[in-house]
Structures are given as structure tokens and as C-alpha cells.
């Protein structure tokens, strides 16, 4: 049991080093290089900016090595913003746009003129998140432990700067999925001792990367923590349901055959009757 726990801790540390979590745009300034290979800075990181605060995005031209000019006209779309387009080219390698997003959500960045690599320049995005509450600093610790073969327990402990538990506030758990997305798991309320627990479904051998965040408020500041666990046991082949199996279940095939077969046979009978009409309708 002790060996398993050690294994979990070590794997958590290794994965945390290998896969950095989303970074926040410090000072609300982002630089994005735009070239035929896409948006370089968007490849490995999600850039978060806070709603209600001014953001400055600087686009730089990354196609200077091309023999001909490959200008990019960039547009930022999204709820709550209405921005002019900016152009980066050989003659204007840097373009800056400053705005204040008012709503949370995703801003998409796309190139709107024909250019080399245009197909890679339609998927850039910037997440506009809620502003982080400032106030007394808080600290959040997240521990993940296997509960049984099919679930893990995510236990968070929220304390203030003095180490006193903070109770009665929601902590949001988010699962970072293997396809790169985020799935909000729930927001349990912390108990008297500052802890909140959430059960997370998992399969044997599955790795879970989970974040817990306290939004802050009422004079308390924002805090978050991420942790990963690899569930004990060997990965199992999940038994496939009959509707998900490669071959159709015989009952379904039979039902479809009877229903559709019955209909088409009736069609055939009607068409036969029509052709009997041609012969004068005589039996």
C-alpha cells in the first residue's frame, strides 16, 4: 500500500513537470507570433486573460524568411468584443491591439485574408476568465487518493494566511481531459475543517489531472492547486455495450429487419397492385 502511494506521488510530480498547466497572462499582455505554421504561442499553452481588465495583444510577423511577403490580417472575434482587424506583414512586422473584454468566454483569433498556412490560422484562442479576487491570501491543497477500483477521492483543504480553515465556501474541481479540454466536475462547499471532498469516476490504470480553485470573495483572495493521480491496477478493456459493439446486436438487427422488411414488402404489394391496374384491374 505504501509503495503504491509513493508511486502516485512520484508520478504526480513527473507529470506536473512535463505538462505545465494553463498560464495566465501576467499584466494582461500577450505576444503571439503569426506565421505559416500557425500561432506559435498557442501551441502548448492556453492563454487566459481576465475580464474587465485591459488586454494588450501584440502580433508579430513570423514569415520573414519567406522569399515573398505573406501578410496576415488578423481578426479577434468573441462575445463582448468588437475589434478592428490588424495586419502583420514584412513591412509591418508588429501590430498591437488593446481592448477590455467584458464577458468571460473564448475569443477566437483568425486570419481573414488568403495566406500561406491559413488553415492553421483559424483556431487561435484566448480564454477570458473571471477576474481573480484580491484580498487576504488563501492557500489550497489538493490530495488525490484511490477510493475503490472505479473512483478516486479528491480532497481539498482551504486555509487562510494564518493556516485557519475556511469553511462554507465553494471550491470548483476541474478535470483536464486527455483530449486537452476541461470538464467541470462540481463545486462542493468546504466543511468546518476547511476540507471539501469530491468523488471522481476513474478506471483502473487511468491518469487523472485535476485542478481545484477557490474563486475568492468577501475579502479573501483567489487560490488554486492541481494534482494528478494514476489509478492503481492495470488498464482494463471496458466491456462494450451492445449498442457500442462493432457488430450489431442480433435483437436490434431483427427488429430493424422486421419493421423495414414489413414496410418494403407492403410497398411491393402496393406497386404490384398498381401494375395489376395496368392490366385492366382484372384478377
Amino acid at each position: 500500500m505504501l509503495r503504491k502511494k509513493r508511486h502516485v506521488v512520484i508520478s504526480t510530480l513527473i507529470i506536473a513537470l512535463l505538462f505545465p498547466l494553463p498560464v495566465h497572462a501576467h499584466g494582461q499582455a500577450v505576444t503571439i507570433s503569426v506565421g505559416r505554421d500557425g500561432y506559435d504561442d498557442m501551441v502548448n499553452y492556453k492563454v487566459d486573460v481576465e475580464a474587465g481588465h485591459e488586454v494588450t495583444i501584440t502580433f508579430t510577423y513570423d514569415d520573414a524568411d519567406l522569399a515573398t511577403d505573406n501578410p496576415h490580417e488578423i481578426q479577434i472575434l468573441g462575445a463582448g468584443v468588437d475589434l478592428p482587424t490588424v495586419t502583420v506583414s514584412r513591412d509591418h512586422p508588429v501590430a498591437t491591439i488593446t481592448f477590455t473584454p467584458t464577458q468571460t468566454g473564448t475569443l477566437t483569433i483568425l486570419c481573414i485574408v488568403p495566406c500561406i498556412g491559413m488553415e492553421k490560422l483559424v483556431g487561435g484562442s484566448i480564454h477570458v476568465v473571471k477576474p481573480k479576487e484580491s484580498g487576504l491570501s488563501t492557500s489550497l491543497a489538493l490530495a488525490l487518493s484511490p477510493r475503490d477500483e472505479e473512483s478516486a477521492l479528491a480532497t481539498v483543504t482551504l486555509v487562510d494566511a494564518r493556516g485557519d480553515p475556511i469553511s462554507g465556501v465553494p471550491v470548483t474541481f476541474t478535470l483536464h481531459t486527455s483530449v486537452g479540454g476541461e470538464l467541470e466536475l462540481g463545486s462542493p462547499i468546504t466543511r468546518e475543517d476547511g476540507t471539501a471532498v469530491l468523488k471522481v469516476s476513474a478506471a483502473p490504470g487511468q491518469s487523472l489531472l485535476i485542478s481545484a480553485a477557490f474563486e475568492g470573495g468577501n475579502g479573501l483572495g483567489f487560490s488554486e492547486f492541481s494534482s494528478e493521480i494514476t489509478m492503481p491496477g492495470d488498464p482494463e478493456t471496458t466491456p462494450i455495450g451492445s449498442l457500442s459493439s462493432p457488430t450489431p446486436p442480433p435483437v436490434l438487427a431483427l427488429i430493424l429487419l422486421i419493421v423495414l422488411g414489413g414496410i418494403w414488402v407492403t410497398y411491393g404489394t402496393v406497386v404490384y397492385q398498381v401494375f395489376r391496374i395496368r392490366s385492366g384491374g382484372v384478377k
Partner: protein, 531 residues
């Protein structure tokens, strides 16, 4: 008018009785209006075809669809057309099975809507594929467990059944055209000969035709319900907030029936006006259809309320974001317009001719056109002058602007009230406006079912693709082309065969002579100018 015959149509007209003359005139004479209409619709359809070839050449990147929103206008059109197609078979089969004699002038219109809408509807998923040559993969590599394959099977079955159901009652009319139009162009004579199936009107032929029509009338009912239920399953069997609903089957069927019945009312009004069918499509027909449309409209409204209130009461989980977009966010204008202008207002318009109190509104002096026009002109002049006055005086006139806005709203309300007696005296106009609103609502409702849900998936992935959907000109052009194609097929069909069944109408007239006229569920205003 240009006759389709090699020599004059006078000799043909001479051989027809009065009823046949009226019903067959659109088939015999293709005037300038016909060619202009066909040309206009074909031109719009051609723009759609050009846009489609652009999409074929450059790929689906020319559309607004991306990884997050992978279903757009094409799937919206698909669901819309399948919905419109619904009513033809259902309406016709129910009326046929219940022996409703008043059905005869409208059943073929309804059945032809089914045929034309299904052709366009079935085309849309192929357009959505991007690579049309891969459509066969759906059959060769399709999984029997997938609702997509069920959809293909059910639509194919429905289209086949609808064609048979449309063709069966056409046989005697085809025989009539074959016999009367011996001088018609060869291609038309060939069509009439092939599809009249050697009809001579013998008792044995009548018996076989009646038996076949009754069989199809029974069979087409569950097929039609099945088709739209399966269309709804494509959404409901996907794990997405907004689609994960148990009532999607009846919800889609009710919506389809409402829009389909409304489209039949529109077709009735257009053909009555265009082909001078006033004697055959009477106010009584409109009133009966209005009762049907009203019932279906209220049923669909009820299901809307049930669906949204259930989710909105909790306002939790993944649905929260999607509902927020619908109720107060990006789609709020469209959502509330579809619910109020697309469902509630039509219900009011459909019952309007039966509300006696409305007549009294015309006696209220402020509701007459002159006071309203004077009031409107004054408000308009003040609203034009206000910005100048604000800059000239340098004072804040926001209170005056607010008062003006309230005044405009009140005036708009009074204008609507003043229209009510006018509309009540013109029940057909009232029904047509209501039906047009329901049909337009149906398209936008499908937009609201598809797009906001696609934009709010369970797992948000901002880097993967654009999450906001904005249809491009290619999608709009293909949509316009599909709508024009639907109208073109429908219009050409009405010029190839009589849009009102000649033999069934004659049969109904003789039955009516014996039994007396059918009773209308709604009172007919004696002063109505549209009777």
C-alpha cells in the same frame, strides 16, 4: 398565356367540363409569369449550385463550420425540410382514413410538399458531408446501431412511400391528361401515358386503386412519425447539453406538424390566388386548416415550455451556459422572437376571426388610421429633432428620449390594435400571416436547436477551433438555392399535373350533392370580403 399544345388549346378546352377547365388550365397554359417564376427560382438555385461547387473545390473550410460547431445551416435546413415534409403524408392519410370530404382540394398540395421537401431535405446531409463521394460509406461502413444509419434508412423509406402515396391518386388524373392532351409535347404525353398505368376507370381498377391508397394511408402514418422521431434521435442520443432530452421525439414531431400544416395553408393561399381556385379552396377549407394549425401550434408551444422550463428551473450543470445564451445571451433576440412572434402571435391571429369583441375596436377613435398617422408623424419629427436639440442646448435630454421610446411603443401597440378589425374582416389574410410566421419560426427554431448547443459542448476546448458559428456566403447561397429548389420542384409539379385532384373533387361534389354540405367548426362571418 402560351398554350403547351402544338395547335390551339381551344379544341382541348372544348372537350372539358367547367370544373376540369379551371383545374387543368395551369397545366395547359404556361404564360410569361410561369417562365419568369421558373427563371427566377432557377437563377437562385444556380447560385446555390455555384456555391456548392466552390465548397467542393475548396473544402468545408469555406463554411463557418469548424471543430466545435460542426453542424450548421445544412443540418438546420435538413431538419427544417424533413419537418415541412411531415404534414403532407400525415394530413392526407388522416383525412383519407377518416373520410373527410373537404380534403380533396388540399391533399395533393400537401403530398407534393412532402415530395419536394424530402428531395431537398435528403440532399442536405450530402452537402454537409463535404466529400459527397463518401456518402456510400454510410451504407457500406455504417453501423446498424447508429441513429445516423437509422436516419438514412427511415428517410429513404419515407421518400419511397411518399412518392407512391403521391402517385396513387394521380393515376386517374394522369389518364385524364393522357386522353385529353393528345396534342401536348411528346415528353408530356410520355409522362402521362407511363404514370396513368393503363387506367380506364373500370370498377376493378377503382377497387385496386382504393385498396392501394388505403394501405398506403395506414402505412404512411407510422412511417412519418418514425422519420421525425429518428431525426430527433440524431440529436437526443448525443451527449450534449440541450439535446439530452427525453421529449425530443414528440417535440420534433409536433414542431414538424405545425410548420408543415402552416406551409399547406400558404400553398392553398398561393394556388388559390395564382390559379383562380376560389371555387375549390374556400374560406371553409382555410378555417378547417386554421383549427388544425392552431392545435398544433399550441401543442408545440406547450412542449417548448415544458422543455425549457424543466431545464431553466434548475439552471445548473452544463445546460446553464447554453440556456444563458438562449435566454439573455447572444441568441436571446432570436429565441424570444421565435417563441412570441413565431408561436404566440400566430395563435392569436388564428383565433382572431372568431373573437367578436375585436369588431368593436374599429369604433374607438384613437385606433383609426388618421389619428395614428398624425401621432406617428409627430413622434417621428420630435425624435429626429432631439439629437440636434441636445447638441444645440447642451443639456441632457435622455429623459425626453425615454419618453419618446415609450410613446413609440404605445403607438406601435395601438397600430397593432387598429389592424385587428381589418384582419378579422380578412380571415384568410390573418391565417396566411400566422402560417408564414410559423414557417419562418420553424427554420429559426432549428437554428436555435443546433447552433447554441454546438457552441456549448460538455468539454470546452478553445484551442481546437472557432467556437462561434458565423455562416459564410457559401452556406447562405446553398440555403437560398435549396429553398428555391424546393419551390421550383413544387411549382413545376403544379404545372405538370393538376394541383387539385380532378377526379377526387368530382367524386366529392357528387357525394356532397347526396349528403349536403359539410359543417364548419368555425362561424363564417357574413361580412367577410374573402368568402
Amino acid at each position: 398565356m402560351t398554350s403547351i399544345f402544338r395547335d390551339s388549346s381551344k379544341s382541348v378546352m372544348g372537350s372539358l367540363n367547367a370544373q376540369e377547365k379551371v383545374l387543368l388550365r395551369p397545366v395547359m397554359e404556361w404564360g410569361r409569369g410561369f417562365y419568369l417564376t421558373v427563371g427566377g427560382l432557377a437563377a437562385i438555385a444556380a447560385v446555390g449550385v455555384f456555391a456548392y461547387f466552390t465548397q467542393l473545390r475548396d473544402g468545408l473550410a469555406v463554411t463557418g463550420m469548424r471543430d466545435t460547431v460542426s453542424w450548421g445551416l445544412y443540418i438546420i435546413n435538413f431538419v427544417f425540410f424533413i419537418g415541412i415534409s411531415h404534414v403532407g403524408a400525415l394530413l392526407s392519410s388522416i383525412l383519407r382514413l377518416t373520410g373527410a370530404q373537404w380534403r380533396h382540394p388540399i391533399t395533393r398540395m400537401a403530398e407534393a410538399i412532402t415530395f419536394a421537401a424530402l428531395l431537398m431535405g435528403a440532399l442536405m446531409p450530402i452537402v454537409d458531408l463535404g466529400r459527397p463521394e463518401r456518402v456510400l460509406n454510410l451504407i457500406t461502413n455504417g453501423r446498424l446501431q447508429s441513429p445516423i444509419l437509422w436516419d438514412i434508412l427511415s428517410i429513404t423509406t419515407y421518400l419511397t412511400g411518399s412518392v407512391i402515396f403521391l402517385l396513387l391518386p394521380l393515376i386517374p388524373d394522369m389518364a385524364l391528361l393522357r386522353d385529353k392532351f393528345a396534342n401536348a409535347p411528346a415528353w408530356r404525353r410520355w409522362i402521362y401515358k407511363i404514370f396513368s398505368f393503363g387506367w380506364r376507370g373500370t370498377p376493378e381498377q377503382h377497387a385496386r386503386l382504393e385498396r392501394s391508397m388505403n394501405t398506403m394511408a395506414i402505412l404512411i402514418l407510422p412511417i412519418a412519425v418514425m422519420v421525425h422521431t429518428v431525426v430527433s434521435w440524431i440529436f437526443a442520443m448525443t451527449l450534449r447539453p440541450g439535446w439530452n432530452s427525453t421529449i425530443f421525439g414528440p417535440y420534433f414531431v409536433a414542431g414538424a406538424l405545425a410548420s408543415g400544416a402552416a406551409s399547406v395553408v400558404l400553398a392553398m393561399a398561393v394556388f388559390r390566388k395564382m390559379y383562380h381556385l376560389d371555387k375549390f379552396i374556400t374560406l371553409d377549407h382555410f378555417k378547417k386548416m386554421a383549427v388544425l394549425v392552431l392545435t398544433l401550434d399550441i401543442l408545440y408551444l406547450y412542449l417548448n415550455i415544458s422543455e425549457y422550463v424543466t431545464l431553466a428551473y434548475k439552471m445548473q450543470g452544463p445546460e446553464k451556459a447554453e440556456l444563458g445564451e438562449l435566454f439573455t445571451g447572444r441568441f436571446a433576440g432570436m429565441f424570444w422572437t421565435t417563441q412570441i412572434v413565431g408561436l404566440i402571435v400566430p395563435a392569436c391571429l388564428l383565433v382572431l376571426p372568431s373573437i367578436k369583441a375585436v369588431t368593436g375596436l374599429s369604433r374607438i377613435r384613437p385606433l383609426r388610421p388618421l389619428p395614428l398617422a398624425v401621432g406617428g408623424a409627430i413622434l417621428f419629427a420630435i425624435s429626429l429633432a432631439t439629437p440636434f436639440a441636445q447638441s444645440f442646448l447642451g443639456t441632457d435630454l435622455s429623459l425626453l428620449i425615454a419618453v419618446l421610446r415609450v410613446g413609440v411603443l404605445m403607438l406601435a401597440g395601438l397600430a397593432v390594435l387598429s389592424l385587428l378589425p381589418w384582419l378579422q374582416a380578412r380571415p384568410v389574410t390573418s391565417f396566411v400571416i400566422a402560417s408564414a410566421l410559423i414557417v419562418v419560426q420553424a427554420w429559426f427554431k432549428r437554428f436555435l436547436i443546433v447552433v447554441p448547443v454546438m457552441e456549448n459542448p460538455f468539454i470546452t476546448e478553445g484551442n481546437a477551433a472557432l467556437s462561434l458559428y458565423r455562416p459564410t456566403w457559401v452556406e447562405w447561397a446553398i440555403t437560398a438555392g435549396a429553398m428555391a429548389g424546393f419551390l421550383l420542384i413544387y411549382f413545376l409539379l403544379s404545372r405538370l399535373v393538376p394541383i387539385v385532384s380532378v377526379w377526387e373533387t368530382a367524386h366529392a361534389k357528387s357525394a356532397e350533392t347526396v349528403a349536403g354540405p359539410a359543417h364548419s367548426p368555425l362561424p363564417v362571418p357574413t361580412s367577410s370580403p374573402e368568402v
